[in-house]
């Protein structure tokens, strides 16, 4: 997400708002935002509500065997329709900002 933060102004100029979701609670996300210097919203989904709706539950993959989200990115247009998806096969490989900006070009 450092890449997203580094390209934040470019994304904003393109009208794209990055929002990150994990099971971390607001205390942890606040700490992460500070340490990693991330200024875009980090949302908390400790009960895996949204994570389940997007079918991204990774059972037992968290510390202490808790359920967490598997990594994925979705570009959603202003009408609420999914326009680009990246459900990574390797959690080290994430969507690059260039890919997102390219995908954003097709949005109205």
């Amino acid at each position: 997400m450092r890449g997203i933060e580094n390209n934040l102004e470019k994304l904003y100029e393109a009208g794209i708002r990055p929002v990150a979701i994990s099971v971390d609670r607001p205390g942890d996300t606040l700490e992460m935002a500070g340490k990693a210097r991330l200024s875009f919203p980090l949302l908390s989904d400790p009960d895996l509500d949204a994570i389940r709706r997007y079918d991204l539950v990774h059972t037992g993959a968290g510390i202490d065997g808790t359920d967490i989200a598997r990594p994925a990115e979705f570009l959603i247009d202003a009408g609420g329709t999914i326009r680009w998806v990246n459900v990574t096969e390797n959690y080290w490989v994430r969507a690059r900002p260039e890919q997102v900006l390219e995908a954003a070009r097709s949005l109205e």
Binding site: S22, D55, I76, D77, Y91, V93
Partner: protein
């Protein structure tokens, strides 16, 4: 003891292996070019292997004692374990992900949600899609054209 008498290759080779391993999450994972395929770390492991090979050759000279030879073997075994662990983490376990075949696809409606931000304030997808974005270049906030939803494993 002068530097010439110590088999520095055997120890440095192991230390370099550990660095080759640790530098992935700590350093190289910071850039996609070195994270998506860890070629920098594999290069470091290759250097470590070369140095260890030199160290093993030196330790197994006829005049060297059993302790020197044992130390060389231990260092190589440990370095190999570190390499194995690296391959496991970078290539194998990172792919142990659920299939997520039910994830919304292009063209479908993004499922709505209501989640708390870092301040504990609830927000929804609809809100995120409509609240104007403040850019540095313009005084008036711009209407969002979209939201990039990033699901991540968490902070640990």
């Amino acid at each position: 003891m002068s530097l010439n008498k110590i088999n520095w290759q055997i120890w440095f080779g192991f230390i370099l292996s550990v660095f080759a391993f640790a530098s992935y999450p700590l350093i190289f994972a910071g850039w996609p070019v070195t994270r998506d395929f860890p070629w920098a770390n594999l290069l470091l492991f290759a250097f470590a292997a070369i140095i260890l090979f030199a160290g093993v050759r030196r330790a197994f000279r006829p005049e060297k004692g059993r302790l020197a030879k044992a130390g060389a073997v231990v260092s190589v075994v440990l370095s190999t374990l570190v390499l194995g662990l690296f391959v496991m983490i970078a290539f194998v376990s990172a792919r142990w992900l659920p299939p997520s075949t039910g994830a919304p696809q292009i063209g479908s409606r993004a499922p709505e949600f209501s989640l708390s931000d870092t301040a504990g304030q609830k927000t929804t997808l609809a809100h995120l899609l409509t609240t104007p974005i403040q850019t540095q270049s313009s005084d008036t906030p711009v209407r969002p054209r979209g939201v990039l939803l990033i699901f991540y494993r968490g902070y640990w």
